[in-house]
């Protein structure tokens, strides 16, 4: 009998600690599949963030490094420069990448560091129990915005793809989502492309993934998917924000 679905080689056969319906587990799988398809498991090093996905190195069967909260891209910078032959992936949540690690993100992007970033935007701090993230939507209630985020007080949510695409150096910036099957497939393509760019030496590749946190959103899995569709995507439009490869080909 032909197997319809097999666990990717890079994804370890071990139970994950993620909540049911959490986007992280889907994104881990897509990353693993991409690593498998490109045949780079034996030279990939994943840099883990501090956030719900802090244990990603326990789920992927490749080398893994911790990074302090927000510092993943500084670690990835040192690593990639020391091991240019390796494929370095920085996997980060929105608090990690867009609050405490904003400086590291902007400067790694601006230097055009030759690694790939997977940015999981779930509009909340998952690990610490549902506080406001820089990406929390206007009006969205969280533990630290009990009456909803008030943009007049704390500013509107940060759009990282838009922000980074103003920079010259990045090679590729795309925003995708994992809230339904069609978009999961697009996310897979984007992640694979970010890795392929790195293999080809193209430079900084950044994939933002809109992702569900049903637990801290206080929703069912299904509600969480619809919430992305109805509330996140209108504010965080999906699509390619920058693709230097395409620009080159078009010329």
């Amino acid at each position: 009998m032909k197997a319809v679905y097999e666990r990717p080689r890079t994804l370890r056969d071990t139970p994950m600690h993620y909540c049911p319906g959490c986007g992280h587990s889907i994104i881990h799988k897509l990353l693993s599949q991409s690593i498998d398809e490109l045949g780079i498991r034996e030279r990939t090093i994943v840099v883990a963030p501090v956030g719900c996905s802090v244990l990603i190195y326990n789920y992927l069967d490749c080398d893994g490094s911790e990074a302090a909260h927000g510092r993943a891209q500084a670690v990835a910078t040192g690593l990639k420069r020391a091991r240019p032959e390796c494929v370095v992936v920085s996997y980060q949540g929105d608090g990690d990448l867009a609050a405490i690690g904003t400086a590291e993100t902007i400067h790694a992007a601006n230097r055009g560091e030759k690694f790939s970033v997977i940015f999981v935007n779930n509009a909340i701090y998952g690990m610490t129990g549902g506080q406001m993230a820089p990406t929390t939507l206007a009006g969205q209630p969280t533990k630290t915005t009990p009456f909803g985020r008030d943009p007049k007080e704390i500013g509107p949510p940060l759009r990282m793809c838009e922000l980074l695409s103003g920079l010259e150096a990045p090679a590729y910036i795309e925003r995708v989502s994992v809230h339904d099957v069609k978009n999961v497939l697009r996310t897979k393509k984007a992640i694979k492309k970010a890795l392929k760019n790195q293999i080809e030496g193209a430079g900084y590749s950044f994939v933002e993934v809109l992702s569900m946190c049903p637990t801290n959103w206080g929703m069912t899995t299904r509600q969480a998917s619809s919430w992305i569709e109805e509330n996140m995507i209108p504010y965080y439009p999906l699509g390619v924000y920058k693709d230097r490869g395409k620009e080159r080909n078009a010329k």
């Binding site: 990939t44 080398d63 893994g64 490094s65 911790e66 040192g78």
Partner: protein, 353 residues
């Protein structure tokens, strides 16, 4: 013996790091150590190394983590305010058992303080500095020759113990120009790098982290393992120098630039018949407590005088070593000032009278 060259402390430490095999430097400018990044920016590309000016000391120390976890010899340097910013990273390095060399060319604090030379980061350096239960070896040079020699040792010690090593100089050591003989590369046998991340090719995947959640008690077990390393450092790595201690009645304890001033005063006092000696800790941690304790036991030793460029930090370690057996005096200058020879000499005569 190699040829004598004339170099500034900040530059000698760089050339010596390169001799030690350091090929990666990440840092952020701050006075009085700006010659270090400037030297590395020019010199590292010549040896196929990598110099990168980071966006902050926060980033610099985490870039250091990145190159260290890749198994490369790597260093950063800064001065007091920047070293404060690096403390989180140093704590992570110690927790994850990653080697790195961190040079602190101290300036006056607290806060932005001054750019004058200082030794006021003694507490920070010798107590770990960041959060958690850990220590770092702290090496305190007193001359350009010594800072060059110490760099070779620092990289070895970092590798041997898989722990960050701090080189603690002050602005005077960094800025002054002296003749030196550049050191030879080390010939020590170093432990195997069987933890390095270079891609899981033909071996199991590796993880380097400081997080230890499970099984219950995992962190305690790990910290006890770290403690064993710290005890080993205490047994094997205490370094200090003695001057005129065999008949000394007054023992001065001083390191770095303060020790140079103290030595001049000691000689002057000896010329006048006062039996003064000097003990100069080279490792500030592990500290030469046993040597001081043994001196405190001697009947001829009447008192100790701690001299520092701060308000009395090493003084606490001297007290812990002497344990009330003898009087301990203190002379210090703070806020970027260097001990004054006349003042210190006055203090010595006062103690003797």
């Amino acid at each position: 013996m190699g040829e004598k060259v004339l170099m500034r402390g900040n530059e000698a430490l760089c050339e010596s790091a390169i001799i030690a095999g350091c090929r990666f430097y990440f840092g952020y400018p701050i006075t009085p150590q700006n010659e270090v990044p400037a030297y590395m920016a020019r010199r590292l590309p010549e040896v196929n190394g990598c110099f990168l000016q980071a966006e902050s000391e926060l980033s610099a120390i985490n870039m250091v983590w990145g190159a260290s976890v890749a198994g490369k010899r790597v260093m950063t340097s800064s001065s007091s305010p920047g070293i404060s910013l690096m403390q989180e990273g140093i704590s992570y390095l110690a927790g994850a058992e990653l080697p790195a060399v961190i040079v602190n060319i101290m300036r006056g604090g607290p806060g932005l303080g001054s750019i004058g030379p200082s030794q006021s980061d003694y507490f920070q350096a010798t107590r770990g500095g960041g959060h958690g239960d850990y220590r770092t070896i702290v090496l305190a040079p007193q001359s350009v020759q010594e800072i060059a020699d110490i760099m070779i040792d620092a990289f070895d010690l970092a590798d041997i113990y898989r722990n960050p090593v701090v080189v603690l100089g002050d602005g005077v050591i960094g800025q002054m120009t002296e003749p030196l003989v550049l050191p030879k590369p080390s010939t020590r046998t170093l432990p195997r790098n069987d933890w390095v991340l270079d891609g899981a090719s033909g071996r199991d995947a590796r993880v380097v982290m400081s997080l230890r959640l499970s099984p219950p008690g995992a962190l305690e077990t790990h910290n006890l393992h770290l403690k064993e390393k710290f005890c080993e450092m205490e047994r094997n790595e205490v370094r200090y120098e003695e001057y005129e201690l065999s008949d000394a009645q007054l023992v001065i304890v001083a390191f770095g630039t303060a020790a140079r001033v103290a030595r001049t005063c000691m000689q002057k006092a000896r010329g006048l018949g006062m039996k003064v000696g000097l003990l100069r800790p080279v490792t500030l941690w592990p500290f030469c407590a046993d040597a001081l304790g043994a001196l405190a036991e001697q009947r001829r030793v009447k008192a100790f005088l701690t001299v520092e460029m701060n308000l009395g930090q090493m003084l606490e370690d001297v007290r812990l070593a002497v344990l009330g057996r003898k009087d301990i005096f203190f002379y210090g200058r703070t806020g970027g000032s260097v001990p004054d020879e006349d003042e210190l000499f006055g203090k010595i005569t006062e103690v003797f009278s």
